[in-house]
C-alpha cells in the first residue's frame, strides 16, 4: 500500500480548465474523499491519479515514485466505477479470477486467493453462480472483489454507490468502510454526496470549479469551513448565513444583527467590506428575551430532533432542536447563537475571516 502525493496538478481540455492547481497528500492507508458538485473536477483528479488522464502540468507521486506521465497499467492501482462492468459470460469465480489468470498466476494460487477475497466480502456461496442473476449489491461486491484480488497499491473509486437506492447505499457504505478498516488499503473515493463523504472518509477534499476549497478531516471541515461554498455544501441543513452590519477589525469579538449584538470568536483579520455570519443549525437556540427576533415558518419532525425554519430580517434561519420543544408555526421567538462556534465570511470573496477559533484548522487546510 502507498502514500499518494498530488503536487500542483493542472488539467486543461482545450480552453477549459478542469483542474486549476491541486495539491494534497493521501497518507498510506487513508480513506480519502474527493467531494464536490458535478463538473468540479473531482473525477478528472481521480482519473489523473489512476493514469486514465495525463495532467497538463504538475506531479503525482505514488509510493515514492513520480508517475504523472506513466500509463495506468504501470501504476499498480485498481479502479472501481459507478457502473460496475462484469464479464457477463463468466461466473462470479471467473470474474474475480480474471485479473490473476491474465497475470499468469498458477491455478492453485488463484483458487486460494479468490477464496480469501470471497471470504472477506462474504460472497463465498455465490462463487459458482452466473453474474446475470445477481442482485445489485452482490454485483457490487463481485466488482469490488475483482479490484481487491490483485493487491494493488491503492484503490480508486468513482461514485461506486451512486447507482444504488438510498437505503441500500447506506448499507453498502457501512460495508465498504468496514472492509477498508480490515484491509487498510489506501483508497481515493469520488462522490457528490456530502453525507457519504462525512460518513466514510478519514479526510475530505472539497472541490468547486476545478479549485480545492478545503482539505481536512470531516469534523474540522464541518466546524470551520474555509469558504461560503463549503459552509453551504457540507451539512444538511446547511450552515445559516446571515447579513451583518459593518466591517470587522482585528481583535473584534462581536458583530451586529440590527439591534442585536452577537458575540463571536476573537477576529484575527480585518475587512472593510460586508461580512456575513455563519451558524450551524444545532448552534441556534430559542430565548424569549433575545433581541434577535424571528418568525417560525415551518417545523419538521425527525424523531428525536426537529428542524425549525425561521424568517429573520437578516435571512432565513434553520435550527435543529429537540422534538420535545413545542414550537408553533407563526410564533415570534428570540434567537441566540453559540458564540464559540460562529464563523464570519467576507461576503465578496466568500472566504472565511481568520479567528482565534478557526486558526488551527485553516493553518493545515
Amino acid at each position: 500500500m502507498a502514500e499518494i502525493v498530488v503536487k500542483n496538478v493542472r488539467k486543461e481540455f482545450g480552453s477549459f480548465t478542469a483542474v486549476q492547481s491541486s495539491s494534497f497528500t493521501v497518507r498510506d492507508g487513508e480513506f480519502f474523499m474527493l467531494l464536490g458538485p458535478s463538473g468540479c473536477g473531482k473525477t478528472t483528479t481521480l482519473r489523473m491519479i489512476a493514469g486514465l488522464e495525463l495532467p497538463t502540468s504538475g506531479e503525482i507521486w505514488i509510493d515514492g515514485e513520480e508517475v504523472s506521465q506513466k500509463r495506468a497499467s504501470q501504476r499498480d492501482i485498481a479502479f472501481v466505477f459507478q457502473m460496475f462492468a462484469l464479464y457477463p459470460h463468466l461466473n462470479v469465480r471467473n470474474n474475480i479470477s480474471y485479473p490473476l489468470v491474465s497475470q499468469g498466476w498458477s491455478r492453485a494460487k488463484v483458487r486460494a486467493k479468490v477464496a480469501e477475497i470471497a471470504g472477506i466480502l462474504d460472497i463465498t456461496d455465490i462463487l459458482e453462480k452466473p453474474v446475470g442473476g445477481l442482485s445489485s449489491g452482490d454485483r457490487q461486491r463481485v466488482a469490488l472483489a475483482r479490484a481487491i484480488v490483485r493487491d494493488p497499491k491503492a484503490f480508486m473509486m468513482d461514485e461506486p454507490l451512486g447507482a444504488l437506492d438510498a437505503e441500500f447505499r447506506e448499507r453498502m457504505a457501512e460495508e465498504l468502510r468496514a472492509l477498508h478498516d480490515r484491509m487498510g488499503a489506501t483508497t481515493v473515493y469520488v462522490t457528490h454526496d456530502q453525507l457519504e463523504a462525512m460518513q466514510m472518509g478519514d479526510k475530505i477534499v472539497v472541490m468547486n470549479h476545478g479549485v480545492i476549497e478545503q482539505f481536512g478531516t470531516p469534523q474540522d471541515i464541518y466546524d470551520w469551513p474555509a469558504t461560503l461554498f463549503v459552509a453551504d455544501f457540507i451539512g444538511s441543513p446547511s450552515m445559516n448565513i446571515l447579513r451583518t452590519d459593518g466591517a470587522v477589525a482585528i481583535g473584534q469579538r462581536e458583530v451586529r444583527l440590527g439591534d442585536a449584538v452577537i458575540d463571536v470568536p476573537e477576529q484575527l483579520a480585518e475587512t472593510g467590506g460586508s461580512v456575513v455570519l455563519g451558524v450551524r443549525p444545532e448552534h441556534v437556540a430559542l430565548d424569549d428575551n433575545a433581541p434577535c427576533r424571528g418568525e417560525v415558518l415551518a417545523t419538521e419532525y425527525l424523531g428525536t430532533t426537529q428542524i425549525v425554519t425561521l424568517s429573520t430580517a437578516f435571512g432565513d434561519v434553520k435550527m435543529r432542536t429537540s422534538s420535545g420543544t413545542g414550537i408553533r408555526v407563526g410564533e415570534r421567538v428570540g434567537l441566540t447563537f453559540d458564540a464559540r462556534t460562529l464563523s464570519l465570511f467576507d461576503a465578496k470573496t466568500g472566504k472565511v475571516l481568520l479567528s482565534a477559533a478557526n486558526r488551527g484548522v485553516l493553518a493545515h487546510g
Binding site: 437506492d165 438510498a166 437505503e167 451539512g235 443549525p281 415558518l297 415551518a298 424523531g303 425554519t309
Partner: protein, 331 residues
C-alpha cells in the same frame, strides 16, 4: 377535497399479491404518506385510487361515492409523478393551464388566468410564467408539474415520489413548500415514498406498508415512538434502531425475544463494557459503532468526543422496546 376510503382492497399481478386486503381511510384535508421499501405495494395503491389499475377485490370510495367502475377522469384525482413530464414546446403558463382546458372541465378563460396566477404565486414560479418549459431548472420543472396538479382542485392529490429525482438541497426546500401548500389549500394528499425523512416531516398520517399490507397507520410521532412491530421500528429512525437478543441485558418482559433500542436510548457510562469499533463524525452528530458480546450497536455521542476505536465504553439500555418471536411488539 374529499375523504378517500379503501375497504379490503386486493390486487394481484399473476402470482404476486401487490396489495393484500388493504383497508385505509384518508381523512379529508390530511397529508397521508405511504412508506415502504420497493415492492411493498405503495405505487399500486396509488394507481388503484387513480383508476389506472383495477382491484381484484374490495371497494374504493372517494367523497362517499363508490368509484370502482369509474375511469380515471371521472374520479377527479390529480397525479404527480416522479419524472416530470411537461410539454416542452409550451410556456410555463400554457403547461399550467393545460389541464383546465380539458374538454371535461370547460373552464372559462378568466378563471384559468386567475388559477394559473394563484398557483404560480404559491409555487414561486410567477416570474417564469412566460419561459419555455425547457428553459427551467430541474427544481422549477418539478414545481411546474406539481402546479399542473394544483390548478385542478381535485378530490385528492396523488403523488408518487415527486421529489426523488431532485438533489438533496432542493428536496429539502420543496418538502417545506409542499407541506405549506397543502396546509394552505386544505388539500387531501396521498403521497408515496421510500424516504423516511419525507414521511416524518410532511405527513399528518404515515401508513407503513410491507408486502402489500398496511402494517401501521398513525401520526409520525406515534409510528416512531410506538411501532407495532420490528418492521415498522426499523423503517423510521436514522441511524436505524438496534435489534438485540433480550438475553444480552436481561430484564425483559415475558415472551420477549428481541429488544429494539434506538441509538439515542443507549445510556453511556454504566452497564456492560462495549468496545468502540468506529467513530463516525457526521458534523451535527457523531455516531459510535460499538460491539458487545458479538452484537453490533450504534449510538450517538458528543460531537467532539475523545473516544477512539478500541476504547471500552460501558452501556445499558433505556426506554427499550420489546418484541416477541413473531416480531410483534409487547406493550
Amino acid at each position: 377535497m374529499a375523504e378517500v376510503v379503501l375497504s379490503g382492497i386486493t390486487k394481484r399481478f399473476g402470482a404476486t399479491v401487490a396489495v393484500d386486503a388493504m383497508s385505509l381511510t384518508i381523512p379529508d384535508g390530511a397529508f397521508v404518506v405511504l412508506l415502504g421499501p420497493t415492492g411493498a405495494g405503495k405505487t399500486t395503491t396509488l394507481r388503484l385510487i387513480s383508476g389506472l389499475e383495477h382491484p381484484d377485490a374490495g371497494e374504493i370510495r372517494i367523497g362517499g361515492r363508490l368509484v370502482n367502475r369509474e375511469s380515471p377522469a371521472e374520479r377527479d384525482v390529480a397525479m404527480v409523478f416522479q419524472q416530470y413530464s411537461l410539454y416542452p414546446h409550451m410556456t410555463v403558463r400554457e403547461n399550467l393551464a393545460f389541464p383546465l382546458r380539458s374538454p371535461i372541465l370547460r373552464t372559462p378563460e378568466d378563471v384559468i388566468k386567475r388559477k394559473v396566477g394563484a398557483v404560480a404565486e404559491v409555487l414561486r414560479i410567477a416570474h417564469k410564467l412566460d419561459n419555455k418549459a425547457t428553459q427551467l431548472s430541474g427544481g422549477e420543472m418539478q414545481r411546474v408539474s406539481i402546479g399542473r396538479a394544483l390548478v385542478r382542485d381535485p378530490a385528492i392529490y396523488l403523488m408518487d415520489e415527486p421529489l426523488s429525482s431532485l438533489d438533496a438541497k432542493l428536496r429539502a426546500e420543496l418538502r417545506i413548500e409542499l407541506k405549506r401548500i397543502q396546509a394552505q389549500l386544505g388539500a387531501t394528499v396521498l403521497y408515496v415514498t421510500h424516504d423516511q425523512i419525507e414521511a416524518m416531516t410532511m405527513a399528518t398520517h404515515v401508513g407503513v406498508l410491507d408486502h402489500g399490507r398496511l402494517v401501521q397507520f398513525g401520526p409520525p410521532r406515534e409510528i416512531y415512538e410506538a411501532p407495532v412491530n420490528l418492521t415498522v421500528a426499523s423503517r423510521l429512525g436514522l441511524p436505524r434502531i438496534n435489534t438485540l437478543p433480550t438475553s444480552l441485558f436481561g430484564d425483559a418482559p415475558a415472551g420477549a425475544v428481541t429488544m429494539g433500542l434506538r441509538p439515542e436510548h443507549v445510556h453511556q457510562g454504566e452497564g456492560k463494557p462495549a468496545t468502540v469499533v468506529r467513530v463516525e463524525h457526521l458534523g451535527d452528530q457523531t455516531r459510535l459503532h460499538l460491539t458487545l458480546e458479538g452484537h453490533d450497536i450504534v449510538t450517538l455521542t458528543d460531537v467532539h468526543t475523545h473516544l477512539r476505536a478500541g476504547a471500552t465504553l460501558p452501556i445499558r439500555p433505556r426506554d427499550a422496546l420489546f418484541f416477541d418471536a413473531g416480531g410483534n411488539r409487547i406493550m
